[in-house]
Symmetry: C2
Subunit: 375 residues, 2 copies
């Protein structure tokens, strides 16, 4: 079995390595011949009989060039050494929802685990240059969704993506990162530890050759996998004309529901989400809003797996006088302690005590450089 | 004519001053008898013949009490002395759109001018405790709408209302304030000068007796006039469960389109507007969005009066390095110079020069206390 699978994988990679044979052709050929090995074993005449052009038939018979063959060798070794799980479109364990998009990836490299519970997945994506408050909103949203039993799918990028993965992990939930590079690479490099945590409690996915470097051209294609795996796509912050908006529009074309978090009209990273809402995306403020929207569309068996967390408190508990002063002086943009002291005209000690008390009640978060953010 | 009119006005006020005769009854009686004088001249039997209960007929025949009669005298004197224009539902100059709501005010006191161009009106309302950035967004929106030829209707309240009136005045446009007190009063008192400016370039309206004090019970009824006069209602900032949301819902019941400016999900004054968008209000970011939505619904003659301003610039012109640093450190919440110096680590002089330059390019606004706000 192991051998058959390895042979089959080699055939997939060989077919894909042939210059001039793209995903679309591979899917058509494999659909026709039932396996990539059969395609590779077929004669030119047989290929032509089943609808290939002479040029394509010749190209397939010739196979990949020498360099590509060496790369496939290296790739097979690396897949075995790093225990990468490769799933092809013919495998029953290939993600169900992804299989149904118009252009599913023929081959999917998986590091970590991909399991049945990941059928209940929601994508959370957005700006790399997210604001501090945008990252917090993303984290809290992903946390709530993961806590309800949804797998959070995102792209391991800086900003919103990382916050989405972290929110899911903090809830003890599952999360999937789809890379825009080969699974042998980590991009951005500083997310090595985050990647490791995701592999422990979810999966890293890529459709690209093992060592493919990150390349801007890969990202739009990668995004169709993110939405393809998901029941819906949440955009928490996005600039106008950004990749996140492309993902959202692609998602809508795939029939996925699009959700957007609104923001201040003058904030660059809210222009995109506000634009999505104008175009018909659902405005959401918290995890429950997303759950309320997707739950009714689920088959009963899947819906039963969703646990509904209590609604977030909308109003705060009461503060003391000084705490209230400090809380009112805080902003959703980070402020320094000095700024808060000046604003409140309270003694340093009172401000520090109030901040600590607010922090314990999760109404403020301390950021590096003694800066504080309203929660 | 003057005398006939004065007699008729006295009859309106008399009818309204009778204990137990509300607006609904007045409208029904006047619709039946064609004038308030005729109602007051009718005998008990005649009143009963035309559908009044015996109790109501007796009450009308008895007329208002002595105290009320003295108040009407004072009111008529004040109306003449202050040159208040009183329009009743039977006057052809009564605002057309307002006449068609289910419960139009029978009598409308007008200080200033109300003219035909005010048929093209949009209400801009929202939180009294608006944020600094919310007030700016409101001002800019009202400015754009008034510049396009729309009259801005609001409630003279603190916060969003005042910003809406000011934005319209700054554009050289027209604006109408509907009071929640009698027209002889100004509430809040600090808006005396704003009121005067509105009277010069629009109108102050009230349906209440001349000296009626502001009373919380008046405001919800007042709001039906604000939306009744308007083609649509824009809410720029509003808390959840606030009066502005009630106005918006009333407006929707009157068949008016509701527009809301989205905001950060954790900001109290955006919770209401985000909720409105969830409920189906149109998300708008600028004046043009509102114009695009209402123009197609207008009769061609009215539409021709709308001039369309150019779309606001979405992206800024380029800044110098230091300017960019300062601009990036700014926030949509006011920040002190000290905070900006600390954030940018630039010398004081550079920060000040950059702020001045940004101010000249209208990218920052200085607020009292050397605080600065990103625009």
């Amino acid at each position: 079995m192991q051998t058959k699978r390895a042979v089959s994988l080699e055939a997939w990679l060989t077919l894909r390595a042939i210059e001039g044979v793209g995903d679309h052709t591979i899917l058509a050929l494999v659909r026709e011949w039932q396996s990539p090995d059969a395609v590779l074993r077929a004669s030119t005449d047989e290929l032509i009989q089943r609808g290939c052009s002479r040029r394509l038939a010749d190209v397939i018979r010739r196979g990949p060039d020498r360099e590509a063959c060496q790369r496939i060798e290296r790739e097979l070794t690396a897949i075995e050494r790093k225990q990468i799980d490769v799933r092809t479109i013919l495998d029953s364990s290939y993600p169900t929802r992804l299989r149904m998009i118009p252009d599913p990836p023929p081959v999917l490299y998986v590091s970590g685990t991909l399991n049945q519970s990941d059928e209940l997945a929601v994508a959370v994506v957005g700006a790399r240059r997210a604001t501090a408050s945008g990252r917090l909103v993303t984290e809290s949203l992903a946390n709530g969704l993961a806590g309800a039993g949804l797998t959070i799918v995102s792209g391991l990028a800086r900003g919103v993506d990382a916050a989405a993965h972290r929110g899911a992990l903090a809830a003890g939930g599952r999360t999937i990162a789809v890379l825009g590079c080969g699974i042998g690479q980590t991009y951005p490099p500083e997310h090595g530890r985050l990647r490791h945590e995701i592999e422990e409690r979810g999966a890293i996915l890529s459709e690209l050759p093992f060592e493919a470097p990150p390349h801007s051209g890969h990202f739009p294609r990668r995004n169709r996998i993110i939405s393809g795996l998901s029941l819906g796509v949440v955009v928490t912050e996005a600039a106008i004309d950004s990749g996140s908006l492309i993902t959202a529009r692609l998602a809508a074309e795939q029939g996925r529901e699009v959700f957007a978090v609104p923001g201040f009209v003058k904030s660059e990273t809210s222009r995109g989400t506000n634009a999505l809402i104008k175009e018909g995306a659902a405005l959401i403020e918290c995890a429950q809003d997303v759950i309320d929207a997707i739950a009714p569309q689920l088959e009963p068996a899947l819906r039963a797996r969703l646990s509904c967390p209590p609604r977030e408190k909308q109003t705060g508990d009461r503060f003391g006088n000084q705490e209230q002063l400090v809380y009112d002086a805080l902003s959703y943009d980070p402020l320094t302690v000095d700024h808060l002291i000046e604003q409140t005209r309270l003694p340093v000690a009172s401000v520090m005590v109030s901040l600590l008390s607010l922090e314990l009640r999760q109404r403020v978060r301390q950021l590096p450089g003694q800066r504080y953010l309203k929660l």
